[in-house]
Symmetry: C2
Subunit: 203 residues, 2 copies
DNA sequence: TCACATTATGAATGGATATTCATATATTAG
DNA sequence: CTAATATATGAATATCCATTCATAATGTGA
């Protein structure tokens, strides 16, 4: 695992300080983006002095990477936990899309922080999507073996499904278009499409 | 239309200068992102003095917005031109996905420049995707009326289809996963999915 | 209670860079 | 040809901001 040289706090109060810095950084990176957010903005918001941030994080970049990895870890855990409860591939797929959207709505900061990696450290961006895709592909391959999915290129399919989840999440988070509060309805439409296709006639 | 206060050049040589600045800015915003690209980087690359840039663009931000609007305009024109040649909705959909991917591959800068708007001017980002989605929805609504598509929420579907095109484009541009040079093959897989769904049994 | 380690402060530093402007050259219209 | 206009230069300016560091306060183990 990438060593970020973050110094974990040990005392009770210091742990609070650490978390306050994280919280403020997430809030401000989301609101204004990485570059427009200054160290002073973060430390002011957290109610600590500028130097305090450097007790824990050696640089602004490392703070950002730390948050990215945390989000990346959390969303995967969250989705996996919910998907694993399901039996059929259909239910897994439905739950996966739903979990993604719900996580995105609860943590709208995620989009900004993950996508912004494209402009901050392109390798982080690549790694994030590649490892997400790989895990997705694994699940799909298993389902093909079980005979639940048609024989289809699971590498391509994993990107198709990630694209769907991400853009539906985008729609919900940024309230683009209609009915963005009714997640169950939106998931129904998406699953209908994934199951039955877009066109009227099959073959 | 948003007035950016760009001063168009009139003489032959000045037009070249203007285009050189555009070209260098695209190249560098793509390569290093908006914030990491300095005015000096752009003007050095274009072979002009720093002050020259300000003859045409009142600020770095306006230069960026100008490029974003140009891309946004171009990709829509490009896709529309190709889609309009097709008769059936199936062929239109296939050609639309293929055109998007091919445009993205020929102009990989597009991704960076459009997505980065989320961190530079969030309204630009919203406007871009909302107007894209609206136009998409119109085409889908027409196809539903013609009886070519199933009765399905075209607002949601437009985001699903944009998500698919964008993430497949991402896969191809960033060479994530396999077979990224074989666009026809990838489009085949995507269309198979859109037509026949993911699962083995229907209903 | 006393040394030692950890945590906190915030003013000072140093480097970076968008933009301006005084000056110079090229182009065009009459 | 000549004024007027458009184009080009690049050093100087003024601001911004990540990081450091000398100093102080707080917590901890013996």
């Amino acid at each position: 695992m990438m060593d970020l040289n973050i110094k974990e706090p040990t005392t009770r109060n210091a742990k609070t300080t650490f978390q306050e810095i994280e919280k403020s950084a997430i809030k401000l990176f989301y609101k204004n983006g990485y570059h427009a957010t200054t160290i002073a903005d973060i430390t002011d918001d957290a109610g600590v002095a500028a130097g305090t941030l450097y007790l824990y994080f050696p640089s602004k970049l490392v703070l950002y990477k730390h948050l990215l990895l945390t989000f990346s870890h959390n969303i995967r855990r969250y989705i996996a936990a919910r998907v694993n409860k399901m039996e059929s591939r259909y239910d897994k797929e439905r739950e996966g899309v739903k979990a993604f959207i719900e996580y995105a709505r609860k943590n709208p900061e995620m989009y900004n922080i993950i996508w912004e990696s494209l402009y901050i450290d392109r390798d982080l961006f690549r790694d994030y999507y590649m490892s997400f895709a790989k895990r997705y592909k694994k699940g799909l391959d298993a389902a093909v073996k079980q005979g639940e999915l048609r024989e289809i290129d699971t590498d391509v399919v994993s990107f198709v499904l990630m694209g769907i989840a991400n853009f539906i999440g985008l729609k919900v988070v940024f309230k683009l278009g209609e009915r963005n509060d009714d997640i169950d309805y939106i998931v129904d439409v998406v699953m209908d499409l994934i199951k039955n296709g877009l066109f009227k006639e099959r073959e």
